[in-house]
Amino acid sequence: MSAEELALLRAELGAPLPESFGTLDDAQVRLLAQALRRARERRASGLNEAVEDALTLVPALTREPVRRMLFR
C-alpha cells in the first residue's frame, strides 16, 4: 500500500491506524477512507435535512426566528 492512501485514511479517521492496517492494499485502504467519508457526509446531511423537516412543523410566523437561532 502507498503511504499516501494510508495518510488519507488516517486523516478520515482522525486517529492513528492500527498496525495491521498497513498490510492492506491501496484499493482496500481507499475503500475504507471513502466509506468513512461518505458515512460522515451522510450523517451531516441527514441531520441538516432532519432540522429542515423539523422546521416545517414550526408555525410559519416563528419559523424564520427559530431558523436564525439554530443556524446563526
Binding site: 482522525g14 498496525e19 498490510t23 492492506l24 475503500l31 466509506a35 414550526v58
Partner: protein, 367 residues
C-alpha cells in the same frame, strides 16, 4: 474463535459505515482486536464531529418539559436527529424524554445512537420501556442494534425479554454482542431447557457458526454446559454441526468446545457419520495443524472408530514437510506423545519414515 469474532466485528463495522459486509470481508484477515480498535475510532470520528447546530437544539430542548420535548422529538425531529440529540443531552435528561416516547419510535432512534452513550442512558430507563423497545427491535430483525444494547440491560428487564425472543434472534444477537463478558450471565438466566432449545434451533436454522461464537464467548462453566447440551442433541443435528464446521473451516471454534466433553459424550461425537468422511477428516487435520489445537484434538482421535482413525493417520501422513514438522512440534510442546503414538502406528512406512526424520524426533532420539 478468531474467524467468527472477525466475521462479527466486520459486520459491526459495515453497519456503522453503512456498506455491504462483503465489501469489508478483507478485514477478516486482520487481527480482530485491531479491527475492533478501528471501529471504535470510527465511532469517535463519526459522532464527535457533530454539527454545532446539535448543541443549539440540545440547549433549546433543555428548557422544555420532558413531555413537550418528547412530542417535538417524535413529531418534528425524527429518529436520526432525536438520536443525535440524545447523544448531546445528559443521560438522565435523555432517559426522561425517552420514557415518554412510543417504543416503536425509540427503537428507530436506537439504530442511530452514539454507542458510547448507551450505558448512561440504559441505566436510567424504566424496565417497561426497555422490554417494549427490545421487542420492537427483535420484530424489526435489528440484531446489530440489539447486540449493542443487550450488555447494558438490567436482569429485571432481561428475564422479561428473553422468554419473548425466538431462538434465532438470541443467536443472531449473541453473535454480535458488544459486551461479551455479559454473555455467561445471560446464558445462566436462560436456564438449561431454553439453552437446549437454542442449540436445536442452531442446527435446524443453519446457525451453528453463531452458536459456536456464543459458546466461545460464554464463561467457562456455561461453555462446558453448552458443550454437554450440544452433545445430547440427536445425531442428525450433531452431524450438521460437523458438516458446517468442515464447510466453513471452523475447527478452531469447535475443538475447544469438544475438548470440554466427558469421555462418553466424546464417544457419541466421534461416532458421527460426518466424522467418517475422508474430506471432513482431512480438513480437520489441516485445521489442527493451522491452529495448533493438538490437546483438544488428540483425545477425540483416541475414541474415533478404527476406520476414521486410519483416515486421520493417512491425512496426517500426507501433510507437507513443514506441516508435519508443526504437528510434531505441537505434540512435543504439550507432551502429547502418548496420544499420538497410536496414530503414528497406523501410518504407512513412508509417513513413519518422514516423521522419524523430522528434527524434533532426531532431537528426542539424541536427548
Amino acid at each position: 474463535m478468531d474467524t467468527l469474532r472477525s466475521r462479527a466485528e466486520t459486520l459491526k463495522l459495515a453497519r456503522l459505515l453503512d456498506v455491504e459486509p462483503r465489501q469489508l470481508a478483507f478485514l477478516e484477515e486482520l487481527p480482530v482486536e485491531e479491527v475492533r480498535v478501528f471501529r471504535e475510532r470510527s465511532v469517535a470520528a463519526l459522532f464527535d464531529d457533530a454539527p454545532e447546530i446539535l448543541d443549539r437544539i440540545a440547549a433549546m430542548t433543555k428548557v422544555l418539559p420532558a413531555g413537550v420535548a418528547a412530542g417535538i422529538a417524535q413529531k418534528a425531529l425524527g429518529p436520526r436527529l432525536a438520536a443525535a440529540l440524545a447523544g448531546r443531552l445528559e443521560p438522565a435528561r435523555a432517559a426522561d424524554i425517552i420514557d415518554r416516547l412510543p417504543a416503536e419510535f425509540t427503537a428507530r432512534c436506537c439504530h442511530h445512537l452514539d454507542p458510547r452513550r448507551i450505558a448512561g442512558i440504559m441505566g436510567r430507563l424504566d424496565d417497561d420501556i426497555v422490554v417494549r423497545v427490545a421487542l420492537v427491535l427483535a420484530d424489526r430483525g435489528d440484531h446489530l442494534t440489539m447486540g449493542r444494547f443487550v450488555g447494558h440491560i438490567r436482569d429485571s428487564a432481561l428475564v422479561r425479554i428473553l422468554p419473548k425472543l425466538d431462538d434465532a434472534t438470541l443467536l443472531h444477537t449473541g453473535f454480535v454482542i458488544d459486551h461479551p463478558e455479559r454473555l455467561g450471565h445471560i446464558v445462566e438466566l436462560m436456564g438449561e431447557e431454553r439453552v437446549s432449545s437454542v442449540i436445536a434451533s442452531a442446527a435446524d436454522e443453519g446457525l451453528w457458526p453463531e452458536a459456536m461464537a456464543v459458546a466461545a464467548m460464554a464463561a467457562d462453566r456455561q461453555r462446558a454446559r453448552i458443550a454437554s447440551l450440544t452433545a445430547a442433541q440427536p445425531e442428525p443435528r450433531l452431524d450438521s454441526l460437523i458438516r458446517t464446521t468442515a464447510e466453513q473451516d471452523l475447527w478452531e471454534s469447535l475443538l475447544p468446545i469438544v475438548a470440554l466433553l466427558s469421555e462418553d459424550e466424546l464417544r457419541a461425537v466421534a461416532a458421527l457419520p460426518a466424522l467418517r468422511d475422508p474430506a471432513v477428516l482431512d480438513g480437520l487435520v489441516r485445521g489442527v495443524v493451522a491452529t495448533g489445537l493438538w490437546a483438544e484434538f488428540l483425545p477425540m482421535v483416541g475414541v474415533l472408530p478404527p476406520t476414521a482413525r486410519r483416515i486421520v493417520a493417512t491425512a496426517a501422513g500426507a501433510l507437507s514437510g513443514p506441516e508435519l514438522d508443526a504437528l510434531a512440534r505441537g505434540v512435543d510442546k504439550e507432551d502429547l506423545w502418548e496420544l499420538v503414538l497410536p496414530l503414528i502406528e497406523l501410518m504407512d512406512d513412508t509417513a513413519k519414515q518422514r516423521l522419524l526424520e523430522l528434527p524434533v524426533f532426531q532431537e528426542r532420539a539424541a536427548g
